[in-house]
């Protein structure tokens, strides 16, 4: 066996060293494209998927707990939070209070949802703190201050679609009327833009403010939003939350997501899976065809090697080595092209839906998986044709029959 490997390696090395360089370059180029096909489109799809996931993060984090039945609030949400935070896969959690309001600035009035939140806790749960385009995010000591969604402000993303508050800016005073007819005046502390309707039509204020307006006590909340560890499965964590004794309804963000958004994400995931399978099949077929043609081209050589006493095993090993060499070179060239394109598209993102920048996502796991898939295919693609040819009689192989 060791002799087979030594002879196979020597034979493969000569073949690569002295083989036709143009053919070698062509094979490597095609293999590089096959590898690119395995990782490039999925990177874009991954980018879209991440974009939608980020949208979901604002409202629901990874998991959201809501009031039971017809109750408007979760009672004693601090107790629920305590149970949730004790679960190992939970990274962070916070409570929120939502209220329907109308906001007035000068003569303009718009309806909106005002979310009362604990600002310092939002950093670990949602993207709200990171999408402030003007002014600043709320602080835990903020009083009588409000953050407006971009769609409520003239000139921001999507503001032309619905009514907006016109020229309101950071520092402007707006009047907010709650469902219980309490009216309060707040100073605009910041304007946020998430390029997503569910976010940009909302406004944010401190949790205590809503609690105060509705005279709530006992740590009421309209939702508890939970962020889990990166490698944790939301469905599994949801079960753990239920097992921890949380009686309120628990939803994963996927379950809670808007129907259209959910459908879009499912479609994207499906495209992702289909594209992966198709790429893999096309890649496997192409690698196989390239190596098979290359091997058939050397049928006579294989016959000669057999005729002089080289074992079929070492001939097969030689073709597996050659095949691995082609594929490794193809992967290296593919990676150079891939990272060059990623570098370009990161600096020049594809414009998606007016002004959403779609940035492809470099997925290390996907790249490593694709490298292993390519190497696996190369072993099979090198072995099978060589196995076929070495099974032929010496004279048939030499005569190319």
């Amino acid at each position: 066996m060791l002799d087979d490997v030594r002879v196979g390696f020597t034979s493969a090395l000569s073949s690569v060293k002295r083989g036709n360089k143009k053919t070698l370059m062509f094979i490597i180029f095609v293999l590089a494209l096959i590898f690119m096909n395995l990782i490039f489109l999925p990177s874009f799809i991954g980018g879209i998927s991440s974009m939608f996931t980020n949208f979901m993060d604002y409202s629901y984090g990874d998991i959201v707990i809501e009031p039971p039945g017809e109750n408007p609030y979760i009672s004693n949400s601090d107790n629920v939070l305590q149970k949730v935070r004790a679960i190992p896969d939970v990274k962070s959690a916070t409570k929120r209070l939502d209220a329907g309001v109308s906001i007035q600035y000068n003569q303009k009035v718009v309806g909106s949802t005002l979310t009362g939140l604990i600002p310092s806790e939002e950093y670990g749960v949602s993207n709200y703190p990171y999408i402030i385009k003007e002014g600043e995010f709320l602080g835990d000591l903020s009083q009588d201050e409000i953050i407006l969604g971009g769609m409520l402000v003239q000139g921001y993303f999507g503001s032309e679609i619905y009514d907006n508050l016109g020229t309101v800016r950071v520092g402007s005073l707006v009047n907010v009327t709650y469902a219980n007819n309490i009216e309060r005046t707040y100073k605009v502390r910041g304007i946020m833009e998430g390029t997503f309707e569910l976010v940009d039509l909302n406004a944010l204020i401190s949790y205590e403010e809503i609690e105060d307006v509705f005279s709530l006590n006992g740590s009421k909340a309209t939702s508890i939003v939970i962020k889990i560890e990166d490698n944790a499965d939301p469905a599994e964590v949801k079960q753990k939350i239920i097992l921890a004794g949380v009686k309120e309804p628990v939803f994963t963000s996927n379950e809670k997501s808007d129907a259209i958004l959910r459908q879009a994400m499912q479609s994207i995931d499906m495209i992702h899976v289909v594209s992966n399978i198709v790429s893999l099949i096309v890649g496997a077929a192409l690698i196989f065809i390239i190596i098979y043609i290359n091997t058939l081209h050397r049928k006579r050589e294989i016959g000669i090697l057999k005729a002089v006493g080289i074992t079929p095993g070492s001939i097969r090993i030689s073709y597996v080595f050659i095949s691995i060499f082609y594929v490794v070179m193809g992967i290296l060239v593919g990676l150079i092209i891939y990272f060059s394109l990623m570098f370009y598209f990161t600096r020049n993102p594809v414009l998606f839906y007016e002004n959403i920048n779609l940035v492809p996502e470099i997925q290390g796991g996907l790249i490593i998986k694709s490298i292993f898939k390519m190497l696996g295919m190369s072993v099979i693609a090198g072995f099978i044709p060589a196995w076929f040819v070495t099974r032929k009689s010496i004279l048939d192989a030499i005569w190319g029959r």
Binding site: I304, A307, S314, S393, L395
Partner: protein, 237 residues
Amino acid sequence: MGKIMEKEKIAIRVQDLVRHYNTDGIMVKALNGVSFEIHKGEFIAIMGPSGSGKTTMLRILGLLDKPTKGNYTINNLNVVDLPEEERNYYRLTQLGYVFQDYALINEMSVAENVYILSLMEGKSKSESISTAKEALEKVGLGDKLDRVPNQLSGGEKQRVAIARAIAKKPRILFADEPCANLDTQTSRQVLEVLNTLNKKFGQTIVMVTHEAWHTSYASRLIQLRDGLIVNDKKLRG
């Protein structure tokens, strides 16, 4: 005692060898029952018109093909029913085969073409290289180890093929029209190499040829016609 000694002298014993094969629905009777013996140290020339069965016979003796019927032994070993793996090993260690069209691997250097067989036999790389060098020096190509076949003349290629065949010191060397593609002068060089191997090193050689003057190097001539031996005579020795 005499029988045992006689047996030890025999390199190949062929008994009623038949080879029929089907080509595009036509039955070709290449060999129709040939029997003969070849002694160690003989230089046999096999002649005959095209289609007489000489190449077919050489391929069968060289374990590249199998007979339809009949028996033959090489160095007293019945090789007809040897499993493929053992035939391969026997080819590697006991037999050398020189093809009409050199059959060199173009992507390997002259040295690699020769030493790869020693590697296969389990020798170390340095040992294999020195064996190859020795064989190439025997055929006068000791200075062309790093060339590739495409950089050699026809005669040189054939001498590399001979070096490859003799490097492993085979018991029997088969040569299938080794001078078919060569001019007279180059053919003479190749035949001189074979002659030296036979006379100086006692190498048993079985050579198929078309040219009558090539037989002047041989010690015995076997002539075939229609798959049968029509003449078998000693030429010298």
